[in-house]
């Protein structure tokens, strides 16, 4: 199939914005934000731009973060250092939770018990056991629940997923995904190391670096990208072998500063024959080449994806072979050779990739759009969110099995 830009954009009907138009008569939705550190503040700021939302309260147990949250939320929002008091006093209709990973389960369960609809940052839970219990509780509660994997709300990823489903890159044969960057992944601490409270504050603010609170690079970064693999392949991985360690940032951290994973997915081809797709995932903290990207490789083309741009590279040699000649050829069926001259191909090392088609429809911001979608589902009390509890559970199991494989040094099967 020859792909033109037109067919490319027409494939599979992408929805760019929220599924509904806001109406004046819609009552505002009372939302509280629990956890107003870095990510929580991003979510909070985005919430305040959504017409239907009133942020009624913010909560954080670290005063500077709470102060920041109060500033972003505005004077109508009450501030709390204990989320249970917030739930008791404000009874918000919906909560947005952005606390350290080890607290996800407890805070989410308490919010569900208080009758709230819940937006929970990724990764859904710190353990698979918690994720399974939370899944059961969400389904029993009939509350609206969404996990913060914002690529599910990103126009580029939605388009790319539709293209894969429509067969535009042929059979998916391999996936390569990475989140590479070059910094210590360490938040600064406002007091000197000589201060008696330094270590306590270090573990609080740099919770991502300590195993008691964090599942490391896989949970904080890999969860987004392995969710793309699960989403595009329409299933979860069968097993994984992973290797990781602390090789460079020997600063007292406990989580790996680099990890490489090989996932296997079992699929069936068009004839019903089983085959395996292997997905390579790597994350680095000391080299940023090609940044945070996913490459979905199919028999007819490759999709190179980032949050801001998507590129489709068609495979060479999968269309009709065209030699020089074209309409000047004496006979349309004749291949044309030029005497004494060999066809010269470029020696540019990237020439094989050809000129890509661009997915250039990224109007909208995926963090804002995932919240617009969540709020819309809350308003309609529609539990079928764009990233529901089952997606969150599968994603959680997918990333935690890689950490387990590193620890055991062996293949780990998907846990259920």
């Amino acid at each position: 199939m020859s792909i033109t830009r037109r067919t490319f954009l027409e494939t599979a009907g992408v929805t760019l914005a929220a599924s509904t138009v806001l109406r004046a008569e819609d009552a505002t939705i009372r939302v509280a934000v629990i956890g107003t550190g870095g990510r929580g503040s991003d979510l909070l700021r985005a919430l305040t731009t959504i017409d239907e939302v009133t942020v009624v309260g913010v909560c954080d147990d670290y005063p500077p973060h709470l102060e920041q949250g109060a500033k972003y939320a505005g004077p109508q929002a009450k501030t709390f250092s204990d989320y249970r008091k917030l739930l008791d006093e404000l009874k918000p209709q919906a909560v947005v939770i952005a606390v350290p990973l080890y607290l996800h389960y407890k805070v989410a369960v308490d919010c569900l018990s208080a009758g709230c609809d819940v937006f929970l940052e990724k990764t859904m839970c710190y353990t698979v056991d918690e994720a399974r219990k939370l899944t059961a509780q969400v389904l029993a509660s009939k509350r609206v629940f969404q996990v913060g994997l914002q690529r599910r709300a990103n126009a580029i990823y939605k388009q790319a997923q539709a293209m894969v489903a429509a067969g535009m890159i042929g059979q998916v044969v391999s996936i390569k995904a990475q989140w590479h960057r070059n910094n210590s992944w360490r938040r600064p601490i406002p007091i000197p190391k000589s201060d008696a409270n330094w270590l306590k504050l270090e573990r609080k603010l740099n919770w991502r670096l300590y195993k008691a609170y964090s599942a490391g690079l896989m949970a904080e970064l890999g969860s987004h990208q392995m969710d793309v693999a699960n989403w595009f392949l329409g299933t979860h991985p069968k097993r994984v072998m992973a290797s990781g360690g602390i090789e460079y940032f020997r600063d007292g951290r406990e989580v790996y500063d680099n990890i490489s994973c090989l996932y296997e997915y079992e699929l069936k081809d068009a004839k019903g024959q089983p085959y395996t797709v292997r997905a390579n995932y790597t994350s680095l903290c000391n080299n940023a080449y090609e940044g945070a990207t996913e490459l979905i490789m199919g028999t007819k083309g490759s999709l190179y994806l980032t949050s801001e741009k998507g590129l489709l590279f068609q495979e060479k040699g999968t269309d009709v072979v065209s030699w020089e000649g074209g309409k000047n050829a004496a006979d349309a069926n004749a291949a044309v050779v030029t005497a004494g001259k060999t066809l010269k191909l470029s020696n540019d090392p990237w020439a094989h990739r050809g000129t890509p088609f661009e997915i250039d429809i990224a109007e909208g911001n995926d963090t804002r759009d995932e919240l617009v979608s969540f709020v819309d589902h809350v308003r309609r009390q529609d539990v079928k969110t764009i990233c529901d509890v089952n997606v969150g559970l599968t994603d959680c199991a997918t990333i935690l099995m890689a950490n387990q494989s590193v620890e055991r040094g062996s293949w780990i099967n998907f846990p259920f």
Binding site: T49, Y72, R186, I189, P192, E308, E363, D366
Partner: protein
């Protein structure tokens, strides 16, 4: 004392961060973490303010504010309010809607929203974004015990803390010529030039006429914040040297230091 340097790309240019800590906060690990936080802040602001990035809030405003009041976050609203005050105090010479005839922006503080009263209006924060980013970077510096710092946004906006930071100024049309040397002490500077050697006409527009300015001047402003320095270097350059000196005389209280080249 340990010194740490790092740069990042944002707002179509390069930002440089130089930090020197003290009081036990001068180890490389801490300074790197602060510098990374500043870089992430600058990139966050780029993602918020860039009119070229279709996923930015500014792009959303430019798309939607001609048809409805667009609710924005409190930080962006405060910045837009500051731009409106600057437009008024500079008699219209600093205007974020200069390219589309100026003014035409209605701000409503109660709903934190912005609406274009002229459907052609498009906002461009290019003349203030770098300065604002440097000031936000300085808030991080203040929070984490850094005593000496220099932040540079694309070599046209600079803010220094602590030590006297020597700054050389190149002539805008003869880049090999250093025309001025100054020591930056706890101040910000912004230098706006009418054009650079590769340009035949200025890309600075006079908001009152929507035409490019005609001088070959460059205007250097030293102020207490980088945002203020950028507002005035842009406004004064647009006014032109003569009008600018008359305007500055009317300001009853001003800490601005202005030089022309």
């Amino acid at each position: 004392m340990y010194e740490y340097q790092r740069s990042c790309e944002a707002m179509g240019t390069r930002f440089d961060v130089i930090l020197r800590g003290s009081h036990g906060q001068d180890d490389e690990q801490h300074l790197e973490a602060v510098a990374v936080a500043i870089g992430e802040e600058v990139q966050r602001l780029d993602a918020l303010l860039s009119r070229f990035n279709p996923s930015s809030e500014m792009a959303r405003i430019n798309r939607e504010a001609k048809t409805k009041a667009v609710r924005v976050d409190r930080e962006l609203f405060a910045l837009l309010e500051r731009c409106e005050i600057a437009r008024q105090t500079t008699n219209g010479y600093f205007d974020i809607a200069a390219a589309t005839g100026g003014a035409g922006i209605a701000l409503d503080a109660a709903s934190c929203s912005v609406r274009f009263t002229n459907p052609a209006t498009q906002i461009d924060l290019g003349a203030i974004g770098k300065g604002y980013a440097l000031d936000c970077g300085f808030e991080i510096i203040a929070r984490f015990g850094i005593e000496h710092a220099l932040l540079n946004g694309g070599t046209s906006s600079v803010r220094g803390l602590g030590a006297a930071w020597p700054i050389d100024l190149r002539h805008p049309l003869q880049p090999e010529r250093i025309v001025h040397r100054l020591d930056l002490v706890n101040l910000a500077l912004s230098c706006s030039a009418a054009r650079h050697p590769a340009q035949t006409q200025s890309d600075v527009l006079n908001p009152l006429t929507s035409a490019p300015i005609l001088s070959n001047d460059a205007c250097l402003v030293l102020a207490e914040s980088a945002t203020e320095a950028e507002i005035y270097s842009t406004a004064l350059l647009t006014m032109g040297k003569v009008n600018a000196s008359q305007y500055l005389a009317t300001l009853c209280r001003s800490n601005l230091q202005v030089k022309w080249f």
